[in-house]
């Protein structure tokens, strides 16, 4: 269940501007990695490209998950490989009941003749909502419609808990959260932590990493990974910022 990214280049379709300029990254099964870096450096583009957002086009390189080629698959089949993207800006969908949607999504990833029994679904939903301290009515509302920023993030984590992916990419799942909400979101991630689950956390604050200790931290600058180290790197970045790594990137030297 390893995610392997090799020399990945991607452009914005509409403008042709290259955002990912040769990303190499491996996230082995059972590990949690974080990607940090300054704004506009390609972190979100990387996560969206892995999932297949149609505005980006891969021009070079490969992405493999569990030995399977990812890039040739439509978005839903990437999900069916066990990949999940918790989005920075999840879409709001009018008229679609949140709980109905989650149940449909779970069943879409199961064999057609084996849907999750309704009672089991409800039980799991209630457990996970309790874990995330979400109000009951959140699942009766339309999907993300009128949700606050924090509610949206929590709803992404709820979907992750319900879908039980093998790999979760969480794109700035911590942005806009107060400290209590951050703690709860972290609790959700830690809940899935185990030998069969890996995660890639995209963030530019080390705050989240105080609650979810990553196995590895990668620093991304200008479309490339320039540094990979253990969790202690977060403290260094917090103290010194990214200037050093921006310098390294400009000089074309990777550590």
């Amino acid at each position: 269940m390893t995610l392997k990214i090799n020399n990945l280049h991607a452009i914005i379709k509409e403008t042709g501007e290259e955002i990912l300029k040769g990303v190499d990254l491996t996230v082995p099964t059972g590990e949690i990695h974080a990607i940090m870096g300054p704004n506009g450096t390609g972190k979100s583009t990387l996560s969206e490209t892995i999932m297949g957002y149609p505005a980006y086009e891969v021009t070079q390189g490969t992405v493999e998950f569990d030995g399977q080629d990812v890039l040739s698959r439509p978005v839903n089949e990437r999900a069916r490989l066990g990949m999940f993207l918790g989005m920075q800006y999840p879409a709001e969908i009018q008229g679609v009941n949140n709980a109905d949607f989650i149940r449909t999504a779970i069943n879409a990833q199961r064999p057609e003749n084996d849907p999750l029994p309704v009672m089991q679904f409800i039980q799991r939903l209630q457990e996970n909502m309790a874990l995330l301290e979400m109000p009951d009515d959140i699942t009766d509302r339309y999907l993300n419609v009128g949700f606050s920023g924090g509610e949206k993030k929590r709803n992404e984590v709820l979907q992750m808990l319900m879908l039980q992916p093998k790999l979760a990419i969480l794109d700035e799942i911590d942005s806009g959260l107060d400290i209590d909400a951050l703690r709860i979101v972290a609790k959700g991630i830690n809940h899935l932590r185990g030998p069969e689950f890996s995660a890639l956390l995209i963030t530019h604050y080390e705050r989240l990493l105080e609650y979810v200790t990553p196995d590895k931290i990668h620093v991304m600058v200008d479309g490339q990974i320039v540094k990979t180290a253990g969790p202690e790197l977060a403290d260094e970045l917090e103290a010194d910022g990214y200037a050093k790594y921006e310098q390294i990137r400009r000089n074309g030297v990777s550590e």
């Binding site: 149609p54 969908i93 008229g95 949607f101 309704v118 209630q126």
Partner: protein, 477 residues
């Protein structure tokens, strides 16, 4: 969430209930011999219709006046192309018959498949497809529900009402929709047959929705139902008609007239779902008036036909009267849905809302055509119009054509119109959770019409969802 638990069971129950509601109409065996006035329309045809129905002279006079008016009138100068509609080739009246329009083997496979996918019961399928004996121009009823009559509510076909309650019919008939209003109103008034009559006495609340099913089946049968609803002071009623499943007809005209009178502080909701087969012209005139403090609501779904022209109106005649129109139009294939609403504010502090949702694909046309009028007495009134369209491919089209007329200054009018494709962002989001593009598209479309669906009785909502679900199949590459 507890709703979720019982959803499947509820679906099943709804389908069963739906089936039994159809059976309760009990198409009995003593079928009368066929009678038809034949092809075409003359003054003698009109007299013959009235004679067959043993109508009082005043109704004959209304018919004849309308007939002569009709002869002077022209087809509408706006909207869809009606040049293929040959009014001289129609049969204007026929009695119930055991005539079978066609055998089950001749029913198109697409229609059979739709019934299958929607879970329409076996017996019902043949009936809807025109492959079993059926009644034609007259509404067939179950026995009048006992609790209705106990409450003093009159619920019967309009022909019977002319015989049994002439004083009420005479007082209201054709006073809201004048024959001179448009050619199809004139035609209907001349040759009308069947339709629903409802009278709710002062202060009486009809608890359950009153339901009726209209079908058209025989070849070239013009259908001219005439519906009259009177809701007295402080009373309320909820009337539901139509059918979500496709209803077969040979090239045919459906030109109903509906008049609804909502007296002071009364409430009426009139829900229609129509899914005529792809050769039917549905050209209807529906009009309501709401007096002081009264509320009138149209809930109107148009899913099929060849051409639909329908603009239900509400005349807000008394202070603080309210009018609402909630509609969906679905043009799937070579269908022209020209629909909308008219809100005529004639009293102070009246309020109207029009919410129109349209979906078109595979060459379908959905045009919204609506009018909001505030006359010089409409001080402090307001109107809100929302038109939302999803165009699913490049072959389909949609237009919004609003007419607003305001005679005074202290009123508020809002009009929002949005035409869009299925959002790429939304598709991506749903697909990232494992839904195929087709499943994601369906979910977005169902969500789009949800404000409408949730207002329907459950069995209609279940059927509508299944219908759209099925019709969206194969909608994405």
């Amino acid at each position: 969430m507890s709703d979720e638990a019982g959803q499947q069971a509820a679906d099943k129950a709804a389908i069963q209930e739906f089936a039994s509601q159809h059976y309760q109409f009990g198409f009995h065996d003593d079928i009368k011999p066929l009678f038809s006035t034949g092809v075409g329309l003359t003054e003698e045809t009109v007299r013959e219709i009235s004679r067959r129905k043993h109508e009082p002279d005043w109704m004959l006079q209304i018919r004849l006046d309308a007939y002569h008016q009709y002869r002077q009138m022209k087809l509408p100068a706006f909207g869809p192309d009606l040049s293929q509609l040959n009014l001289d080739q129609l049969r204007y009246f026929q009695r119930p018959t055991d005539h079978v329009a066609r055998s089950w083997d001749d029913v198109p496979q697409a229609m059979k498949t739709t019934f299958e996918k929607m879970g329409v019961p076996e017996a019902e399928r043949k009936y809807l497809a025109g492959a079993t004996a059926q009644y034609e121009s007259e509404v067939v009823y179950a026995n009048l529900k006992r609790d209705l009559s106990r409450q003093g509510i009159i619920f019967m076909d309009t022909d019977t009402a002319v015989q049994k309650h002439p004083e009420i019919v005479k007082k209201y008939f054709a006073t809201l929709v004048h024959p001179a209003d448009n050619i199809f109103a004139a035609l209907n008034t001349a040759v009308w047959s069947g339709g629903t009559f409802i009278y709710v006495p002062k202060g009486v609340h009809a608890d359950a929705p009153l339901q009726s099913f209209f079908r058209i089946n025989a070849e070239n049968t013009g259908q001219f139902e005439r519906t009259l609803i009177v809701v007295e002071d402080g009373a309320s009623v909820n009337y539901v008609e139509g059918c979500t499943a496709p209803v077969y007809s040979e090239d045919s005209l459906h030109a109903a007239v509906v008049e609804v009178f909502v007296h002071p502080n009364a409430f009426c909701r009139y829900t229609t779902i129509q899914n005529w087969s792809s050769n039917v012209y549905s050209l209807e005139t529906k009009r309501a008036e709401a007096e002081a403090g009264a509320t009138m609501e149209w809930v109107d779904g148009n899913l099929g036909s060849k051409v639909t022209m329908k603009y239900p109106s509400i005349y807000l005649r008394g202070r603080e009267a309210k009018g609402t129109m909630l509609s969906i139009a679905f043009a799937n294939g070579p269908i022209d849905q020209d629909t909308g609403a008219r809100m005529i504010h004639q009293a102070p502090h009246t309020h109207s809302t029009i919410i129109s949702k349209s979906l078109c694909r595979a060459g379908g046309i959905c045009d919204y055509r609506g009018e909001v009028k505030m006359d010089e007495n409409a001080h402090g009134s307001s109107s809100h119009v929302e038109c939302d369209t999803i165009i699913m491919d490049d072959d389909s089209s949609s237009d919004t054509i609003p007419y607003n007329k305001v005679a005074i200054g202290d009123v508020a009018m809002e009009h929002e119109a949005k035409v869009s494709k299925v959002s790429e962002e939304e598709l991506y989001y749903l697909m990232s959770r494992g839904l195929s593009e087709e499943e994601a598209t369906k979910m977005i479309v169902m969500g789009f019409i949800e404000p409408f669906t949730k207002q329907l009785p459950m069995e209609y909502a279940v059927e509508l969802n299944r219908l759209i679900d099925f019709q969206m199949e194969g909608s994405v590459g």
